[in-house]
């Protein structure tokens, strides 16, 4: 559930300024919605400059139950997005080394190092991020975020609210749900105090149901990629994921996905694919390699291969079925406690098996990332098990989400080429 929607999210300013790069022949026509997406995100980040003084600012992790913050009218910033943006601009190493020279080990998560580098230096490719009044994190995506956020809390001397989400080893127990629900209730007085706003259950319910609808639309959007050819690539979806992550619960995100869905359905009806010829359909596992998105997209498109599904784009659609406006606290515990990264590998295996079948996937690319242990530990076994069970060619590339210093192009290119050969051989048998 680590956030992936950053580049489209914040690099809009660059994109509008510079002439758009020619689309390589291998790709189909770009989505019309891209323009709308850029407007929405542009506005959100533009407004953030004028927020201090007007609204309280919260820095939030991608898996946190942000609906609760919305009820207090916090302006939310997602540092994971910001770090992904820095990574996409190939500035990851620079920000990381600022954190490293302050004593943070280079073995730590690069999203965290980039964000700490940003905090220490004030640097940002997105202009300026508003200083937080509150930090809000949940370890449902990783334990790392607690360490990261408590370091910021310590440095900036601001309150940190942590939502402890017990890992689901077999199944979520009643005690787990009770504990999480109680934590949410206990947050209300603190949020009232920090925001200066009063909590109204009615407002919260509206936000919650809007959030749920939005997530469901997002799920339907992902389902359109079951069509052959798929109307977009997973690399497009990385970008269009931004509103569901960072604007979830707001009307703008809700409305946007209806527009996007309409366009995708239209493309499916007309048979317009994301790549000009889709011969093989792939699944992507783990967070993007932000500084190599273009390289990877082109590499596969040129070989007539399209990524039609991914484990994490799915994360914002998977568990929202549990949301229930009539029972907000327990249902939020179920929704946020059971997401893919807070769930056992058996669950993940089942999810991936379904995705591979439903999306008629021919091969799997797994990104083993140094930064993210919850996403990466277990990939070797998942690959073997899925490969054996479904006779699925698969490859693992060893890289990082945002620190380009660990990328070895030669090694990775060789691996990917070998994978493509296997895929083609398998298809010819």
């Amino acid at each position: 559930m680590r956030d992936v929607g950053a580049p489209a999210l914040m690099s809009f300013r660059d994109l509008t300024r510079r002439k758009s790069r020619p689309v390589p022949e291998a790709f189909g026509p770009p989505l019309r919605s891209n323009k709308r997406l850029k407007e929405i995100l542009g506005r959100h980040y533009f407004l953030s400059r004028y927020v201090p003084g007007a609204k309280k600012v919260a820095w939030v992790t991608s898996g946190a139950p942000v609906e609760l913050l919305r009820a207090f009218d916090f302006y939310t910033i997602y540092p994971e997005n910001h770090s992904a943006l820095v990574g996409a601009k190939k500035n990851g190493a620079e920000y990381c080394s600022i954190a490293e020279s302050d004593g943070f080990s280079q073995d730590l998560c690069s999203y965290a190092r980039i964000d700490l580098g940003h905090m220490l230096s004030g640097k940002s490719p997105a202009g300026k991020l508003p200083r937080p009044d509150l930090l809000f994190c949940s370890n449902n995506i990783c334990q790392t975020v607690i360490y990261w956020y408590k370091t910021i809390a310590h440095e900036l001397n601001i309150p940190l609210i942590h939502f402890d989400a017990p890992f689901v080893s077999t199944k979520q127990s009643e005690a787990d749900v009770r504990y999480m629900a109680q934590q949410l209730l206990d947050m209300i007085p603190i949020l009232e105090q920090v925001s200066g706003n009063v909590f109204y259950l009615n407002d919260f319910e509206t936000i919650l149901s809007r959030s749920q609808e939005t997530s469901q639309t997002w799920g339907t959007i992902l389902q359109t990629m079951r069509a052959k050819p798929a109307p977009m690539t997973i690399f497009d979806a990385f970008g269009h994921l931004a509103p569901i992550v960072s604007l979830r619960g707001l009307p703008v995100a809700h409305d946007y996905y209806n527009i996007l869905l309409e366009e995708l359905e239209e493309r499916v009806a007309l048979g317009i694919g994301a790549i000009t010829e889709e011969r093989y359909r792939l699944i992507w596992d783990n967070i993007a390699v932000w500084y190599k998105v273009r390289f990877l997209a082109t590499f596969f498109a040129e070989r007539k291969m399209n990524f039609v599904t991914a484990t994490y784009t799915n994360a914002w659609a998977e568990t929202t079925c549990h949301l229930d406006v009539k029972d907000p606290w327990s249902s939020m515990a179920k929704t946020y406690g059971q997401i893919i990264l807070n769930n056992n590998l058996k669950h993940r295996m089942g999810l991936m098996r379904d995705m591979i079948k439903n999306f008629e996937v021919d091969g799997m690319v797994m990104h083993s990332t140094r930064s993210c242990k919850p996403y990466s530990v277990g990939q070797f076994d998942l690959r073997r098990a899925l490969g054996a069970e479904l006779n699925l060619p698969a490859v693992i590339i060893d890289a990082d989400i945002a620190d380009e210093r660990v990328w070895s192009e030669q090694q990775i290119q060789t691996r990917l080429e070998a994978f493509c050969e296997t895929l083609e051989d398998a298809a010819h048998v």
């Binding site: 004593g103 080990s105 073995d107 005690a175 530990v377």
Partner: protein
């Protein structure tokens, strides 16, 4: 005096003892004792990593890798299952890997340790977790005997009490053990029967008067103590480790003695919330900083040694802020990174000697 770990466990297994392999770090031992299960902890079993490389990337911490190697090559002494307490992201996933993907011939259990800043909800939840775990064990080993559980807690209380006494004695130079011996004693808790271990602890003599003080007094923090070669190198240089803040050591001993257990679940809950600040519980940094500063001043430590396991996120995050605050107090800090291999590299020797020279100069000045 201290038995060899694998010999001891082999003997226990031969006698028909139920043995559970337990991964780091925090879990209610007393519950296992009450079911006549001996926990045998797996931290850094020696040996080359071969089979584990099939399942884990190169950038995973050596505790995780060595533990998995042990599990994959274990000769059958572990007969009552494995327990994976929730410690960090890597061990969390390893538990699921072993249980759901790799498979072992014995049951695999997990135990969640709450994270973050604790409050009333955390306390209630921890009680629930204890009761759930009790039920899980009862399903396999029969209904729990409450008297036995109370007795186990009383035994645990005695061990904790003696450990606290020994820690105090160490700080005040009233133990005639060198660092290597001291850590062997502490780490024997990882595999010995509680009765045997209490006996061993009681055998250690606490002097009435302080012995000659060490040339240089160190406080150590980290997951595990350095290996034996490094410890004896420190001993030879006249460095005395007078206090420790190790996950395998004092971070698992309450900061104060408790009352005798009336209700065992209440007692174990109290005990958990009285454990010192620890990176794996992810509490506030301020709290940990204050705790370490106090430990340094109580033990009159002149320097702090961080023994960092490579790729250990919980420790590495806190490390940066702890180093800063200790240096601000004027305490020299030495950080060593370990991959848990035997031996002592030239670089490590140089680092240790350099800090001694640095402090020696300060003493001269």
């Amino acid at each position: 005096m201290i038995p060899n770990r694998s010999e001891y466990l082999k003997q226990q297994a031969l006698q028909g003892q139920k043995i559970m392999g337990v991964l780091p770090a925090l879990y209610p031992k007393e519950l296992l004792w009450a079911f006549d299960i001996l926990p045998a902890e797996i931290w850094d079993p020696p040996g080359d990593i071969v089979k584990a490389n099939r399942h884990l990337q190169t950038t995973i911490c050596p505790i995780v890798k060595q533990s998995l190697e042990f599990i994959l090559t274990e000769p059958g002494i572990v007969n009552a299952g494995y327990l994976f307490p929730h410690t960090c992201d890597s061990l969390q996933n390893l538990g699921s890997q072993v249980k759901d993907m790799i498979g072992v011939p014995v049951p695999v259990y997990t135990f969640y340790n709450p994270k973050g800043n604790f409050n009333k909800a955390t306390r209630a939840y921890y009680g629930d977790i204890l009761n759930e775990f009790l039920q899980v064990l009862a399903d396999v080993h029969g209904p729990p005997d409450i008297e036995k559980l109370r007795a186990a807690c009383e035994l645990g209380l005695k061990i904790d009490g003696r450990r606290i006494e020994l820690q105090q004695a160490r700080m005040t130079d009233r133990l005639s053990l060198n660092s290597q011996q001291y850590f062997q004693l502490i780490r024997a808790a990882e595999f010995m029967q509680p009765v045997d271990y209490l006996y061993l602890l009681n055998q250690v003599e606490i002097q009435d008067e302080p012995l000659k003080s060490h040339a240089i007094r160190f406080l150590i923090s980290g997951i595990l103590p350095p290996n034996d070669m490094t410890l004896s190198f420190l001993d030879d240089l006249g460095i005395g480790i007078v206090a420790e803040d190790l996950l395998a050591g004092s971070r698992r001993i309450p900061i104060a003695t408790l009352d005798p257990p009336a209700d065992p679940i209440e007692y174990l809950t109290d005990r958990f919330f009285l454990l010192p600040p620890c990176s794996t519980k992810a509490g506030s940094l301020d709290h940990r900083q204050q705790y370490l500063k106090k430990l340094a001043s109580d033990s009159k430590a002149q320097a702090v040694l961080f023994n960092i396991v490579k790729f250990c996120e919980p420790e590495l995050f806190d490390h940066r802020s702890l180093v800063k605050s200790l240096k601000n107090e004027g305490l020299p800090v030495l950080s060593l990174e370990t991959e848990l291999l035997p031996g002592l590299s030239g670089q490590t020797q140089t680092r240790i000697e350099a800090i001694v020279e640095m402090m020696g100069d300060e003493v001269l000045a």
